[in-house]
């Protein structure tokens, strides 16, 4: 299964959500600033990186976790992505897209603009970190819902595959 977290720039909220999903950030306490700064792609992407789907890692269920910066095209991207999955005959349960923008606060917006757009990282980055910590628990609960939803879907898929293989075994014997 491929899970894509997307946000405006692919530099803050989606990276944080992906890191929580992969277990790189704690779910029982607030992370330290250095833990966030050490995340790959955190507050490092620029406008040229928008549109590129980047692999963050694989979770404990073997699902590939990706991030994407898609500016203000959340609905368009999801419509397009789901449409392309259908057009190319892929299973809809194989690709999941999650918009992290509802969990972004004004500090992250302002800090992100200052750091990424204006290039003033020494002002923007502390504001972003404060913003991420303010929204952290909301992002954690969102990611936990995603993990449960996708685990349930992959269980259903595995169960149906198991049933099919058992039926085949019985008919062959």
């Amino acid at each position: 299964m491929k899970i894509i977290y997307h946000c405006y720039g692919g530099a803050h909220s989606s990276v944080t959500a992906a890191a929580v999903h992969l277990g790189w950030l704690p779910t029982d306490r607030l992370p330290e600033a250095m833990e966030l700064k050490n995340l790959p792609y955190f507050d490092r992407t620029t406008g040229k990186d928008h549109g590129y789907i980047r692999l963050m890692g694989c979770d404990r269920y073997g699902n590939e976790i990706f991030i994407l910066g898609r500016r203000n095209c959340a609905k368009i991207f999801e419509n397009m992505a789901k449409g392309l999955v259908t057009v190319f005959g892929e299973s809809k349960d194989e690709y999941h897209f999650f918009d992290v923008m509802p969990y972004v606060n004004w500090k992250m917006v302002f800090g992100g603009f200052t750091s990424r757009k204006l290039g003033i990282t020494y002002i923007g980055r502390p504001i972003i970190l404060a913003g991420v910590l303010a929204s952290y628990w909301k992002i954690v609960s969102f990611v936990q819902r995603v993990v449960v939803t996708t685990a349930t879907k992959s269980d259903k898929q595995n169960n149906s595959l198991l049933i099919q293989s058992k039926i085949r075994e019985r008919t062959n014997s």
């Binding site: 898609r70 368009i76 397009m80």
Partner: protein, 146 residues
């Protein structure tokens, strides 16, 4: 093979390009009736922007789609290419053709009129826009098919 024609809405300029590709329109002359007879033309729903619309299948069995991406054509084409690569599809099996640069100001004014619910006026503007775009689209479609 799948060909995606891309414009702002997916139901105007890109659909004209798709119809030229499929041989349903003549680039030299197309009257208003012919243009509005195209299945899906100006049937734009805001919630559907981004969904690929199947225009038809050409003589080489290539599926021709249109795609609306509002103003972010480069970004969405890039993201679409990345997603298709993730699916493991060979690069030779798909192609994106960006027709956003060929959209005329008449089409844009028609879209604005449509947003203001001036349907009849928007139809007039779309017709003038289509007449401007067809000769330019013919070059794009022919070049891409070579």
């Amino acid at each position: 093979m799948k060909v995606f024609y891309v414009c702002r809405t997916g139901y105007h300029t890109s659909l004209l390009a798709a119809c030229l590709h499929l041989g349903r329109l003549n680039h030299n002359s197309a009257d208003a009736k012919e243009i509005y007879r195209i299945s899906g033309y100006d049937k734009y729903y805001r919630d559907d922007v981004g969904k690929p619309f199947l225009a038809g299948i050409d003589e080489n069995d290539a599926e021709v789609y249109t795609l609306g991406v509002t103003g972010e054509n480069h970004l969405m084409i890039r993201a679409a290419g990345e997603l298709i690569a993730l699916m493991g599809v060979s690069p030779g099996d798909w192609r994106f053709v960006d027709t956003s640069g060929i959209s005329s100001k008449w089409t844009f004014i028609g879209q604005l009129s449509g947003k203001l619910h001036l349907k009849t006026l928007s139809k007039v503007f779309f017709y003038f826009g289509a007449r401007k775009e067809l000769p330019r689209l013919k070059d794009v479609v022919c070049r891409k098919n070579r």
